[in-house]
Symmetry: C2
Subunit: 416 residues, 2 copies
């Protein structure tokens, strides 16, 4: 197969479909989404059978138990996919809303109108539910999408796409509005990343390796999610009980999520009130601890290396540093953090405001564990990742974040 | 000089200054801007003298008259720079505003807070006023900036930067918040484009060649302005007099601006009412015309080549196409246009809405000449270019567009 020509054709079909989509109504998009959810629900046995093939092949290929778990579908997981799709369908439609329309001195009106971005490429790894989530979020936001899933989920993804295509065929929409790349050849990804003028943005969803390679190679814009090196800072003016609860939850809710706390910063005046209890609780939970030299000595812990402050453990390990003041805490976060999610525990408004203003992260939290960094928790309804970029969108990426605004100018024949 | 080390140092200083800036108040930024304007005003003779050196050198290097005009400063142009800076200073401060703060089911509040992007690199060509404009827009939006102007304006830029630095030294701000790259070595640009993690975004301001090279080579995000292939479509339901006024103005206000109309699309039912008058007026103004084969024959014009539809003339030349319907007009614009600015002339609400929804351009206009595409006309007060990108910002880029939003989460010890 000529992969380059194949991807070009898919991208051109997507672009044409995205243009036609601008003529479709919000109702047409919503009803297509409900039909897709119905199809997935009705064909769940076929999807489970396809998934069984992937699992069998995955076992033969000796995939790790964690990967097999991410790959595996159950009736409950299919239900969650269907429910998620329906929830996205029910969200308010973001397209066409106009804001800030005002008359300027030259006599015409200027405002901003929300529109789809155009064509979105999603490149992801083993979870087959991303196929349904990504399709739904892109469609709700009025975009065409080109999906490229991991080869290990090939049969599952094909089965889900079959449901989506069946629904599209019965809808008012162009069936190229959602396309799946049906080759596992890696060149297909390269061609997507080079489709300047056809694909408007690519979103990688997966491990650090995938994201790094894609953002280095892409000639088109990328919305990306790098590390989640998240901090909780227990301030001088923290309520100690609250601080213990927040810090313990931030680490132990789930070790493997990007919002898990990786470094705990403690103001020196709080250390004797919070650290003995926290250290006991962490040890009891099986969390191994490293700390700056002085703290390690005081509390009988291992000493942290410079590299620890830079590390996203994603595991039952935590680094602890005692700091002299909030300045040092903020500097530590801005230097070693990944600008993902960082929290302060304090009862002091001035300290809260300093932290909110000066910490340069996508989510900045007060008295809240970092593990809450999540599009569902923020009320987005669904997310297609958590952006650690600074332009366009930071934090959880929802339906509205896959749109853009154009200027509209409404005049009556004014001239210059 | 070790250019790489030099640029790294400048970028690190900028990053540190940007972090300190988050502690400064809106008042401190505003007062620094007023002081800069005062300095430029007070030292206008020194700036004119420096500019005279550049002009002399430019003449010796046989720069074109157009380039010498862009390069040259006059007392009136310096006044405009000073006034512009004061206008930017007076604008409402965008930083720290919080929107959409609401309580979510888990109990905490989620909202979005506007923050500076961080460090902005501006790479520009001959106009020395960009030095003052860019510095002012970046400072007002709370960012650090690294300026790299054209070598032909070196002395003028140095004189302006000297005023800015003098003002900064007397202000509460870090003097590295605005830096100018004092080498004309082209490697400096490459090093800027590779400063991942230090410079957050680069904005090229200049000709197509500059923008293309920068967006191809940059490893950091670019906000860019490519072609302005702008269209006016005279709809079936247009008021013919209005259509003639809008189309004539869109072409002839100034040929060299990116908002100048390059292609005129006319509904077949309008051609006999508008084209004879328009052709006479364009010929009288010295505009040479090419048209699709049938129209060329009917009106005695030259025939347009395929390449004409793709061309940004920036000159007294116009291509004309008669179309059968609004669909063809929209398709023509989305296919051949550059997604910059396109206008419809119509009195019909349905046609207006179709055009607004379906034309995929940064500015979509109704009954308004495309030459109005301009940040000042839109009420932005100042602009640092016109973005033809789709992500982050489309159209004129003002102070607020050089900011971003982070999530803020205000809790009271909630846990998962």
């Amino acid at each position: 197969m000529d992969i380059k020509a194949h991807i070009q054709q898919i991208a051109q079909q997507a672009k044409a479909a995205a243009e036609k989509m601008r003529e479709n109504t919000a109702e047409a998009r919503q009803s297509a989404l409900f039909m897709m959810a119905d199809q997935i629900s009705a064909q769940s046995n076929a999807i489970l059978a396809a998934n069984a093939k992937d699992i069998e092949q995955g076992k033969a290929n000796q995939l790790s138990p964690a990967l097999l778990d991410r790959l595996s579908l159950t009736p409950a997981r299919i239900d969650a996919m269907v429910t998620g799709m329906r929830e996205i369908a029910k969200q308010p439609d973001p397209i066409g809303s106009i804001r800030a329309l005002h008359t300027v001195p030259s006599g015409f009106k200027v405002g901003k109108m929300r529109t789809p971005i155009g064509v979105i490429g999603i490149i992801y790894e083993s979870r087959p539910n991303v196929t349904a989530d990504a399709a739904a979020i892109c469609l709700k936001s009025g975009n065409a999408c080109i999906l490229r899933g991991g080869s290990e989920a090939f049969h599952s993804n094909q089965a889900i796409i079959h449901c989506i295509q069946t629904a599209l065929a019965n809808s008012a929409l162009d069936n190229h509005i959602i396309q799946y790349i049906d080759t596992t050849d890696r060149q297909a990804v390269n061609e997507m990343l080079n489709a300047v003028g056809l694909i408007d943005v690519v979103i990688p969803r997966g491990g650090k390796g995938l994201v790094k390679v894609i953002s280095e190679q892409a000639k088109i814009p990328v919305i990306k999610h790098l590390d989640g090196i998240c901090h909780v800072y227990i301030d001088e003016y923290a309520d100690s009980d609250k601080a213990i609860a927040v810090a313990f939850n931030a680490k132990t809710y789930r070790y493997g999520i990007c919002g898990a706390m990786e470094t705990l910063l403690v103001h020196q005046k709080q250390q004797d009130q919070v650290l003995p209890t926290l250290i006991d609780k962490f040890h009891a939970a099986g969390v191994s601890l490293v700390a700056d030299a002085a703290t390690a000595q005081s509390f009988g812990l291992m000493t942290a290396d410079e590299i620890d402050w830079h590390t996203e453990y994603l595991d039952a390990k935590l680094s602890i540093r005692v700091v002299n003041d909030i300045d040092t805490a903020i500097q530590h976060i801005n230097t070693y953090g990944s600008h993902h999610t960082d929290a302060i525990v304090t009862e002091h408004i001035g300290q809260q405001n300093q932290f909110l203003n000066r910490v340069d992260s996508a989510s900045v939290m007060v008295n809240t564990p970092t593990c809450f960094a999540d599009g569902f928790e923020y009320g987005l309804g669904a997310e297609i990742g958590i952006s650690t970029d600074k332009l366009h969108v930071r934090g959880p990426v929802g339906v509205a974040d896959l749109t853009t605004e154009k200027y509209i100018i409404l005049g009556n024949g004014e001239t210059r």
